[in-house]
């Protein structure tokens, strides 16, 4: 039976473990940083002499680490885009906004092991010549922000932060910045605007790729909490060791958040691609299956923005002769993309046969209607229309053509907006309506019939 493989969450559930620096150090904390800062120039993979900072950037590339915030973009590649010649300061921002519905993994790290995140931030900042970094944390993590503040103060006292980090001559300050309840602050350019003290209106890419024109128009790295923790382990054990975990192109471990209709909801850290969706939902080590007597209906595999899977679906994956069943899909970046959805933020929401897909979709559509930043007309208006149509359908006033109308609206948002929120709000609607179309049409017909009967009576 597949097991968890805890690397980042190794200690968080140990009752004797705490968020203080002494505990962290007792468990090997800040060893990787101390080692890195003492390092001399050395021979890189290509034989040339490289700086210790270049060494860590190379290790991160070799690890094939992909971002854990949603897009799964290569971390090494992102770092390589940073404009190091502009003469402007380079900033690093840790994205701790964690607001994709279904996701609660970064919270575990922030609340229970803040120094691990800090060490990841310090190492990543050092590797990229960053002297000022921010942790953008969602406003509702009030205690989380305090825990991070305390950790930063401790780290500064012990010389891990400040004007002369561990007497190496390297200088770094890290500050906690709190958001204030807007989902769009998770989008990296919205986040940057918000950190500049403005409304979180995402910026148009190009030209505003953060690596070139980010915070204060300076080169900026934005990485998710979990990604930065992975960097710490890569610095500690080397990129090759990290890449041995998981599967090719889907390396390392990943924290999966399981919620909805399972017996054991929770967070599970697994080697990427070594565990299937079926195992995550049904194995006793993970979700423990559905409630007694229930059947699986649908799976949202990567946060509410991911396209839904319907129970019983099969997929044609690259290089495989036979079609793969939904429950046999390895939970990794590439398989889910090939199956037409995504692993997104690593959040799986399970729906059993008691779930009303119309009500579930109405709930998600309300979320997006509420959270659209309002800059783009298709997103601002479309998200609202979709939520209104779905509320009508869920509330007994649907029509048969609502399914078609919803698809029409969603298709006109996708690809026509400034940021990926457009897709995030269109995809759930498109996939649920397409895959459960009969439920929508039956419901609409019933409501129309009831309305005509009420009129004639």
């Amino acid at each position: 039976m597949p097991q968890e493989h805890r690397l980042i969450l190794k200690h968080v559930d140990d009752p004797n473990y705490g968020p203080d620096l002494a505990t962290y150090r007792k468990h090997g904390g800040y060893r990787a940083l101390t080692k890195a800062l003492k390092m001399k120039r050395k021979r890189g993979a290509k034989g040339a002499l490289i700086t210790p900072q270049e060494w860590l950037r190379e290790e991160v590339s070799r690890s094939q680490l992909r971002g854990r915030g949603g897009a799964g973009f290569s971390c090494g590649l992102k770092w390589s885009f940073v404009d190091r010649k502009s003469g402007k300061p380079i900033y690093l921002i840790c994205n701790a906004d964690e607001s994709e519905p279904g996701t609660f993994k970064d919270r575990q790290i922030i609340y229970k092991d803040p120094h691990q995140l800090l060490e990841g931030i310090i190492l990543s900042s050092w590797a990229n010549d960053v002297e000022l970094a921010y942790i953008y944390i969602r406003g509702e993590f009030v205690e989380g922000a305090r825990i991070l503040e305390r950790a930063i103060a401790e780290a500064r006292r012990q010389g891990y932060l400040g004007k002369n980090v561990l007497d190496s001559g390297y200088k770094l300050e890290v500050h906690v910045h709190r958001g204030a309840g807007a989902y769009i602050c998770g989008e990296e350019t919205g986040l940057i605007e918000s950190l500049e003290g403005k409304r979180a209106y995402p910026r148009i890419k190009p030209p505003y790729f953060p690596a070139v024109l980010g915070l204060y128009q300076c080169p900026t790295i934005v990485n998710n909490v979990e990604t930065l923790c992975a960097v710490k382990h890569i610095a500690d054990n080397g990129g090759d060791a990290y890449a041995k975990l998981g599967t090719p192109n889907n390396t390392g471990t990943r924290i999966v958040c399981l919620s909805g209709h399972v017996q054991r909801p929770g967070y599970f850290e697994v080697e990427v691609g070594k565990v299937t969706i079926g195992e995550l939902i049904f194995d006793a080590n993970f979700g423990g299956g559905l409630r007694p007597g229930r059947r699986l209906k649908a799976v949202i595999p990567g946060g509410s923005s991911a396209k839904v899977f319907r129970a019983g679906e099969t997929f044609q994956l690259k290089g495989q002769k036979k079609k793969v069943k939904l429950l046999d899909l390895p939970y990794d970046f590439d398989s889910l993309l090939q199956a037409g959805s995504m692993s997104g933020s690593g959040a799986i929401i399970v729906l059993d046969d008691t779930a009303d897909m119309i009500a579930a979709l109405a709930n998600i559509a309300d979320f997006y209607a509420h959270e659209s930043c309002g800059q783009c007309t298709p997103c601002r208006e479309g998200s609202l229309w979709m939520s209104k149509a779905l509320r009508r359908l869920a509330g007994g006033q649907g029509r048969r053509q609502d399914a078609e109308q919803l698809l029409h609206i969603a298709r006109n948002i996708q690809g026509r907006t400034i940021c990926a929120f457009g897709e995030a709000c269109a995809w759930p609607v498109m996939s649920v309506v397409e895959k459960f179309r009969e439920e929508f049409e039956t419901r609409g017909e019933e409501h129309e019939r009831a309305a005509t009967e009420a009129k004639t009576n």
Partner: protein
């Protein structure tokens, strides 16, 4: 209403501003500090923050209207936030909401911030609080509560009275 910013708060605000190369960046943090102290963001507070950060009041006002956590009116003494998003909905958030609205004499159809008649509590629906694995979840003040059954909610309210 006049604004009363104690010396200590102003010192903390000044310290926060120094964390940023540009003053304007401190906006959200300063607004949080003011709301924690005053309970909400008044027009006077907007002006004060604008002066402090060398901005026009509109630059601050547009933040208060954009970010859901900021309020322009006073709320009840304890603000309860119930998550209404999918995982919590699947775990019974709606029942929890109805229960609390009934108990506090509030309108269960209104998801915006409501205040009880005696001003002791406020209730509002919020989006996913990143606690979906322990749904349904709610916040009371700054505290986060998980697996909240109606009975558990009653206990939490009693404690906070």
């Amino acid at each position: 209403m006049s604004l009363n910013i104690p010396k200590k708060l102003e010192t903390a605000v000044n310290r926060t501003i120094r964390n940023y190369p540009q003053k304007r960046s401190a906006s959200l943090m300063v607004l949080h500090a003011i709301q924690e102290h005053e309970g909400y963001i008044s027009p006077e507070a907007v002006e004060w923050v604008a002066r402090k950060l060398e901005l026009e009041p509109i630059n601050v006002h547009e933040l208060v209207t954009f970010y859901p956590m900021f309020r322009q009116q006073a709320a009840g003494r304890r603000v309860i936030k119930i998550c209404r998003t999918l995982s919590c909905a699947l775990a019974g958030a709606d029942g929890l909401r109805r229960h609390l609205c009934g108990k506090l004499g509030l309108d269960e159809r209104d998801h915006r911030l409501q205040i009880t008649e005696d001003g002791r509590f406020s209730l509002e629906s919020v989006e996913c609080l990143a606690g979906c694995g322990v749904a349904p979840v709610m916040m009371c003040g700054d505290d986060f509560h998980e697996g909240v059954t109606p009975e558990k909610a009653d206990e939490i309210l009693k404690e906070k009275e």
